[in-house]
């Protein structure tokens, strides 16, 4: 325990020294940064002033319980303070108002830099005591979660205080006290600079809030919280969640949103250890709502389009020369993948084959027949381009409920006289990973697929491992993955011709909700409820190999189409298509996002 403390203290100290060095570099007299804000403090006095401000804060903190209004109103109205810009003397005068003796600050373990004061809370003051005991939660190996509490925070000052203790009451009251203190100290033009300036001497190295640094802190907080959750240290986790929420506000854009979703998911996990049945299926969860989100996600980023185009290309090639084709779609939704395939088949030299589509979808609580509606729409489309089209919809709560006879079924027997058997393609876009939630489900489904003797099986999955053994593993992976996803969404109101500006933003917002639900599932659910069990391609290869499938390389035309597609999206520069061992991966900068792979039954096993 001591060691950890010292480590963090050392870390803080080096930061502090760096900060000091930085400041000494300013002209030897008044500190420039603060001067810009209207405060005159000599660099040499900095440490001193910081100490005094610290004392001031202690004093005010501890005396509040007794005579809050009296003292403060006295300070506000009766006491006369001159020249607040000369912070040093001004603080002195205020301190003298307090009759309390200057608080004995226990000697810090190392150098007397004011930073140390953050974790050497004076033993007096009852609230502070309770704080210390809570922090010292004894838990096996000294976990970083606790050590984290002790690190000094440079983030917006109020947040720095809230860290300690899981006593909500205390936190709330403290923040209001801080706010009052801020008001008293106000003299410079704007309130925001007040916040910075009033507390910055106590937080030496930075005057301007460093978003990057607080971003790093945010990530640390998230990780610490996850670790606390893993160790069942719910009190610490709870405190950290609150801290995350505050830190998140100092961020902008993608990071803030991601942090928000993760914080929410963590909170759910903490407060509801037995998740309500189907946590991912909340009140808002009609499959129709899900489909709507899916639609917006389709528009807002190239991921789904990439998936569809690459899978279609593989299917198209596999169907070359066949006169009767049958596609089984494991996740029918709005059927957006199929118009392009139908069109490509219609323009085949030699004309289109006769096309059969089997669509599988989840049950609808409101008994509307979404599957059939999609089928009708596709039939109409096919009719427009003169492709012979038949459709069959299957409602299944889980893919594992399917049996081969259902899919090959009666229609095959209708055509007993036909000389040419159907060429079958099975398509799964983000559906297989759900099966991992139940033991044996995936094996069953792969067996069903095999029984259909498909020419090709196209699988699109997220390229991430969110199915690790431990919660912390999954959390870390998910954090990185979804940060990248949100980043990629930020860039891209689609430049596609049909997207209007406002629509683009709405698409983005809906997509974030869509991803947020996934995040919630990965983080807050367990067991059969945790359906977002993404695994990386390497793992899928193993599974498919075990089930008797061998990979089919996806050709360069898919690659070319995918590359061209990305140019349409505003964030087009960030997106990359990569080919690896015959499978195509869409990535954002260096991070892979989704992978399309194609399979057929291994010839040896035939």
């Amino acid at each position: 325990m001591k060691r950890e403390r010292q480590e963090t203290v050392e870390a803080a100290e080096t930061e502090d020294e760096k900060g000091k060095a930085r400041m000494d570099a300013d002209d030897g007299g008044v500190d420039e940064l603060l001067a810009a804000l209207g405060y005159k403090i000599r660099s040499t006095e900095m440490a001193d002033v910081a100490q005094k401000l610290e004392q001031l804060e202690m004093a005010m903190g501890s005396s509040v319980a007794a005579n809050d209004d009296a003292l403060l109103s006295h300070l506000a109205s009766d006491a006369v303070h001159y020249n607040p810009s000369d912070v040093s003397t001004w603080v002195d005068t205020i301190l003298s108002e307090f009759n309390a003796p200057s608080l004995p600050l226990p000697p810090p373990p190392l150098s007397p830099a004011p930073l140390q004061h953050h974790f050497n809370l004076p033993p007096d003051g009852t609230e502070q005591n309770s704080t210390i005991t809570t922090v010292d939660v004894p838990s096996g190996p000294r976990c970083p979660a606790d050590a984290y509490h002790l690190e000094p925070l440079h983030a917006p000052a109020v947040a720095g205080r809230i860290v300690y203790g899981s006593d909500t009451q205390y936190e709330v009251s403290l923040s209001s006290r801080d706010r009052k203190r801020m008001k008293l100290c106000s003299s410079p033009p704007s309130s925001s600079s007040t916040t910075d300036a009033a507390t910055s001497p106590a937080v030496l190295p930075v005057v301007v809030v460093d978003t990057q640094e607080s971003g790093i802190r945010l990530v640390h907080a998230l990780m610490a919280c996850a670790e606390a959750v893993q160790q069942d240290n719910l009190k610490a986790a709870d405190a950290l969640v609150k801290q995350i929420t505050v830190l998140a506000t100092s961020q902008g854009g993608a990071m803030r949103k991601v942090a928000g979703y993760f914080a929410e998911a963590l909170a759910r996990r903490i407060y509801r250890p037995q998740p309500a049945r189907n946590l991912s299926r909340s009140t808002l969860d009609f499959p129709a709502f899900d489909d709507m989100l899916h639609q917006h996600f389709y528009e807002s980023c190239p991921n789904l389009k990439f998936a569809h185009f690459t899978a279609n290309q593989a299917i198209l090639e596999a169907f070359a020369g066949c006169r009767r084709v049958h596609v089984v779609d494991f996740g029918m939704r709005e059927g957006l993948q199929w118009p392009a395939l139908l069109q490509a088949l219609a323009l085949r030299p030699g004309g289109p084959p006769s096309f059969r589509l089997t669509g599988i979808g989840p049950p609808q609580p409101d008994h509307s027949d979404a599957l059939q509606e999609v089928g009708w729409k596709l039939a109409q489309f096919a009719d427009t381009i003169r492709v012979d089209f038949r459709y069959r919809g299957f409602v299944a709560a889980s893919l594992a409920d399917l049996e081969p006879y259902m899919l090959l079924g009666p229609v095959a027997s209708d055509r007993d006289g036909e000389e040419e058997p159907e060429a079958v393609a099975v398509n799964s876009v983000f559906e297989l990973h759900r099966l991992l939630a139940r033991q044996g489900a995936l094996e069953k489904v792969l067996g069903t697929i095999r029984a259909m003797r498909p020419r090709i099986v196209t699988v699109v999955e997220q390229e991430a491992n969110h199915n690790g053994e431990t919660f912390l593993e999954r959390f870390t992976e998910a954090l990185h993955y979804y940060s990248t996803m949100f980043d990629s969404l930020e860039g891209g109101v689609s430049a596609a011709p049909d997207a209007a500006g406002g629509g683009g933003r709405r698409d983005q917002a809906m997509s974030e909700v869509y991803l947020g639900r996934q995040i919630c599932n990965v983080v807050a659910c367990e067991g059969a409820d945790r359906t977002e069990r993404h695994e990386a391609l390497a793992q899928w290869r193993v599974r498919m190999g075990r089930a008797g499938f061998e990979p089919v390389p996806i050709g360069s035309n898919a690659f070319k189409q995918a590359s061209m597609l990305l140019a349409l999206f505003a964030g087009g520069d960030g997106y990359r298509v990569e080919e690896k061992d015959g499978s195509l991966t869409l990535g954002w900068h260096t991070r892979p996002l989704i992978t399309t792979s194609a399979w057929r039954i291994a010839s040896a096993a035939c």
């Binding site: 490509a344 004309g351 729409k377 427009t384 459709y391 069959r392 229609v411 070319k560």
Partner: protein, 163 residues
Amino acid sequence: MKRRSIDGKEEKKNKRPRSAEVAAPEEAVSAAELGEDLLLEVLKRADARTLGRAACVSRGWRRLAEDERLWEAVCTRDWVKVPCGKQQLRAVVLALGGFRRLHSLYILPFLAPSAALPSPMTGRPHPQQRWGKDEVQLSLSLLSIGFFEKMIPNNNRGGRGGA
């Protein structure tokens, strides 16, 4: 309402005598100057941008310039190989919205930025990029998706679905 862009006027100045310009509102006169067939022949060799401007000259010109055959020529001109028989292509594309739509929504955005600028600005005619079958396939796919998304299925659910 007269639709006359300044560009169009300048472009067409060479092609029409001044008197025709003055008489532009009276379509019969300007069209009769060249004859529709001849005009069509001329426009067949025009590039997309010219066609677009031609459509701004007058109602008559617009009717001509928006002819699908012209846009079919514009689209397929730069394709290395038309993916299938012309008739086949024509049937499908027309059903899905037409070549003009295909070009403006799903070909134009892909063209190199320099190609989107009018030739006079760069001072020299630049070669259009040739499109291979993958690029063509992508544009056609996007056209079909666009069509599908805008489709309003007519609600005659006669009997069972499928088959």
